[in-house]
């Protein structure tokens, strides 16, 4: 089946098998930041943005992305460097394998209208689906807090 997808700002047309997962298609297209940690839609490692919304690419067929905009961390490098800097300063990136999916979800979260007023609990709930086995999550929260504070500062 033929699909046309705007992938990281570029329009591509491709012929895909009807049962091909978006995850596999993205890796075929060289978006190697997208990782897989489970087969059961439980880990969040494969999170990408589809029409701006965080989506598990392992739970979506490539054909469903037809006429949609798909963004991976390859397409958000500046944002990744900005938020990732806070991760790095907290030592919260560790093995890094969960980072792209997690960061994609954080970058979606930052667009939530009232995110600057969120409690720690709200942040954790939003990101609950992103598992990490290395960090114990504490560094993630510290990095997010600093990142949000810096952004808010920048808005003033």
């Amino acid at each position: 089946m033929t699909i046309t997808v705007t992938l990281n700002g570029k329009r591509i047309t491709d012929d895909v098998a009807p049962d091909l997962l978006l995850y596999d298609w993205l890796r075929q297209k060289g978006c190697l930041s997208v990782k897989c940690g489970c087969e059961t839609t439980n880990c969040g490692l494969c999170t990408v943005h589809v029409d701006g919304k965080p989506t598990l690419s392992c739970a979506m067929l490539a054909v469903r992305a037809d006429k949609k905009t798909v963004t991976t961390l390859e397409g958000l490098q500046e944002e990744a460097i900005e938020f990732g800097g806070f991760m790095a300063d907290e030592g919260a990136e560790q093995c890094g394998f969960c980072n792209p999916g997690f960061i994609m979800n954080v970058l979606a979260m930052k667009e939530e209208p009232d995110v600057y007023t969120w409690t720690d609990r709200q942040i954790k709930e939003y990101l609950e689906g992103n598992l990490c086995r290395c960090t114990g999550y504490a560094g993630h929260l510290r990095a997010i807090r600093r990142y949000l504070a810096a952004r808010q500062e920048g808005m003033k």
């Binding site: 190697l32 439980n42 800097g85 990136e93 093995c95 980072n99 609990r121 689906g129």
Partner: protein, 763 residues
């Protein structure tokens, strides 16, 4: 200190957070064959026939290998220094299948679809055999898990008896334990059970292989033990080590899982036989069912003290389940007692016995903590129970008995404890959590109960006189350095901390040292990243190497300047004499060394074996809230104080601690391991095997109370493993304080607490 102790970013941090392709599967060459394994549905069976003719006709299938098609060799997958203590009981493929999921056939093809189709078309005839699934009955069971003749034990002192399903057995006694127990007025004895929990690193097992331009076998692997991978492949395929090259890129977590060479032999044998590049990626399910989980253990602890609350004797018997294969079985078990019992220095007598047995359950391996986790969980629960029986609060009781700096530790190989801030660690967590106000428990207005619990922990730092580590440092012509390492940074930041140690010794900036690793063709030998060895042992090698290079550089500079070596001052940038009349920069020396002037490239490599294994210590205190209606335990806060000696990089050390705590919380409250009566693992995905999410772990706070370890680099000890050991006992103790229920089995699930409370109230 200028560089050591600073919270630098990891050298690879920005590559990781921007999602660069740095992991095994990101790097594979084009045209890599897809390798998958057809696995046994039976816990114990013989392969009678593998019919593969129809499957071979699937377009794109390149080979299907059964046990008769692969080299018949026996080896161990355990990543350990040669001669390995783990018996040689593994084959690439075997006719005898010893657990559900044991590989029956290796299928390689051009595409995943082709391989999946072929797998369905292979017809295997099995002769089903009776399995021995209950490890508590495995010793001397009529069913023998490893009856084969080519089974090999390299180190006879493990006392292995293959025909009895006995992997190892041991008796250790110091002092007269029975006589001491007779004098005790208070005794506690219980058996504690820990399951075969899974490391659940986010990147599952994976590797790819190809032949290089010389026709040698190259294996790129997500491993903690590149040099041991090389040995295992050389054993499995009967290749010379010089004909194998192993490369470790970035790896997505290990936690001990990747201290076993779980999957590398499958693509290796495909490449070996077909000449084609080949890759295997374990599914999450395979990683759970046929990985290298923690050893299931039943730990029976007996402790006794007098009315004065001073321990007189401690004894432990550990029965450990090696499962189908004995990887790490002879070694993990030792830590349960040698570390668990050594937390306390007052007893006059110690006894530690153990048996490790085979059974037809999944093979086991190394998981952070490596047996110490199981043993310390048992000891730390029993200590709290004994304290109560003897009329002491758990903090006072621990302080009266804990191991102290300057003591000889009889159960810890008789080593002298040269650095120990455990007392300060305990004080600190009590203060942070508000122990005095909160102990033992408080009922809240909403009916929930808040309670606190505490536990101590220790580990080692490298395996003394076994692990070996080297680094190599080279001076470049522009006055900066290359450091080649053989230890595996697995997200632990060791590439960075090792460079910090070298930079401190060379008085340069961290950025002046580029780190390269790991490639067995280029890196100096390192036994690998396990047994809490990297910061301590490889760190010490980095220090020694830097000092050696310093000496060489000063010698060379003295020659250039025409002055006496003893008169050369070096501040990291310039060599000069005291007057400053003679001087040259490091850059000038670099140019001199490589510019054809001296014929002396400046480099150094020093390897290091440690005579001792200095324990890091820690204390953990948790505050929980229990809902007596549902039994749900919510962690409010967890306070941890760690003595890892000098902290090389506080960010990295803190991250290690937080991660270890949450893994410990997982095994205590969530991570369940259940088998069907046919020996099939039920909890084989993240759906059934629940690891903690960010909502499950409360607020963590980590502080450091440093001692100074004279054997370590700048006083450092290890940190990677000790951090997983406190949650199980601290939480078990807190749950007791909240509910009056004592649990002796992990995980402690909400329904067990709710039911326990119901029964208690009925009584």
């Amino acid at each position: 200190m200028k560089v050591v102790g600073k919270a630098y970013r990891k050298k690879d941090a920005m590559q990781l957070v921007t999602g660069k392709p740095v992991y095994t599967d990101d790097l594979k060459p084009n045209g890599c064959l897809v390798v998958k394994l057809l696995r046994s549905p039976h816990a114990h069976a013989l392969v009678k026939e593998i019919k593969k003719d129809i499957a071979l006709k699937v377009p794109g299938i390149v080979c299907i290998l059964g046990w008769e098609d692969v080299p018949r060799t026996r080896f161990t997958l355990a990543g350990q220094t040669y001669p390995e203590l783990s018996p040689y009981d593994h084959a690439i493929l075997d006719q005898r299948l010893r657990c559900v999921g044991d590989p029956v056939a290796i299928v390689a093809g051009e595409t995943e679809e082709a391989v999946d189709r072929a797998m369905k078309l292979i017809k295997v005839t099995y002769e089903e055999l009776e399995p021995v699934l209950d490890y508590t009955k495995a010793l001397d069971h009529p069913v023998v898990v490893h009856p084969e003749d080519d089974y090999q034990v390299l180190v006879p002192s493990i006392n292995c008896d293959q025909k009895r399903n006995l992997i190892t057995t041991e008796h250790f006694e110091h002092g007269d334990v029975e006589a001491q127990f007779k004098e005790c007025t208070h005794i506690v004895e219980h058996t504690y059970h820990v399951r075969a929990v899974s490391q659940a690193m986010m990147e599952t097992f994976r590797a790819y292989c190809y032949h290089d331009l010389y026709g040698r076998l190259v294996c790129v692997s997500s491993t903690q033990v590149p040099f041991h991978v090389r040995r295992v492949l050389s054993n499995a395929l009967k290749l010379k080590k010089s004909d194998i090259r192993v490369i470790k890129p970035r790896i997505g977590g290990g936690f001990g899982a990747k201290q076993s060479v779980v999957c590398e032999m499958f693509p290796a044998v495909v490449t070996h036989l077909t000449g084609r590049p080949a890759e295997i990626i374990y599914t999450r399910e395979e990683s759970m069912t046929n990985g290298s989980p923690r050893h299931e253990m039943s730990v029976t602890v007996k402790l006794g003290c007098g009315d004065d609350g001073i321990l007189k004797a401690m004894s432990m018997y550990t029965l450990s389940n090696g499962g189908a294969y004995a990887e790490h079985s002879p070694t993990t078990v030792g830590l349960s007692g040698h570390k668990g019992l050594s937390l306390y220095g007052t007893p006059k007598a110690y006894r530690f016995d153990y048996d490790v047995v085979y059974s037809n359950t999944m093979g086991t391996g190394a998981y952070r903590g490596y047996g110490a986790t199981q043993g310390e969980y048992a000891v730390e629960c029993a200590i709290s129970e004994l304290a109560e029986q003897a009329g002491f609060d758990p903090i006072t009781f621990r302080k009266m008995n804990m191991v102290r700096e300057g003591q000889i530790m009889p159960a810890y190989y008789g080593e002298l404890c040269q650095s120990n801030a455990l007392d300060r660690c305990l004080d600190r967590v009590c203060e942070l959590i508000g122990w005095d106000e909160k102990y033992p428990a408080k009922r809240m207005e909403n009916g929930k109960i808040r309670a606190v619990g505490v536990a101590l922990a220790m580990q080692g730092s490298s395996i003394s006189q076994v692990d070996e580590a080297a680094v190599e440092l080279r001076l470049n012509e522009d006055g900066n350095y290359h450091m080649l390492v053989g230890s595996a940074d697995m997200g632990t930041g060791s590439d960075t901390t090792l460079a910090q140690v070298a930079a401190e010794a060379l008085e340069c900036e961290l950025d002046d040292i580029a780190v390269f690793g790991v490639d067995t063709d280029a890196s100096p030998y390192d036994s690998g990243s396990y047994a809490s060895s990297t910061a301590y042992l490889t760190g010490r090698a980095a220090y020694e190497t830097a000092m050696e290079l310093r000496k060489k550089m000063i010698h060379a500079a003295a020659g250039c300047l025409g002055i006496d070596e003893a008169d050369v001052l070096f501040d990291g940038k310039t060599f000069s004499d005291e007057s400053g009349l003679h001087s040259m920069t490091l850059r000038e020396l670099g140019v001199h060394s490589l510019g054809g002037f001296s014929g002396r490239m400046l480099s150094a490599s020093v390897s290091r074996v440690s005579p001792v294994s200095p324990p890091p210590f820690m204390a953990g205190a948790v505050e929980i809230e229990v809902d007596p209606e549902t039994g749900k335990v919510e962690i409010l806060q967890y306070k941890a104080a760690v003595d890892c000696g000098t902290v090389l990089n506080p960010n990295i050390a803190r991250g290690q601690t937080e991660g270890g705590l949450v893994q410990g919380i997982g095994m205590t409250l969530f991570e369940d391991v259940q088998f069907t009566d046919k020996g099939k693992l039920r909890n084989n995905s993240f759906m059934q095997y629940k690891i903690p999410t960010r909502l499950d772990c409360g607020d963590l706070e980590v502080v450091f109370e440093s001692s100074y370890e004279p054997e370590g680099p700048y006083g450092a000890k290890s940190i990677g493993e000790v951090v997983i050991n406190t949650p199980a006992p601290a939480l078990t103790n807190a749950i007791y304080n909240a509910t009056g229920l004592r649990f002796y089995d992990l995980p402690i699930k909400a329904e067990q607490i709710a039911l326990g409370l119901l029964h208690r109230d009925e009584r």
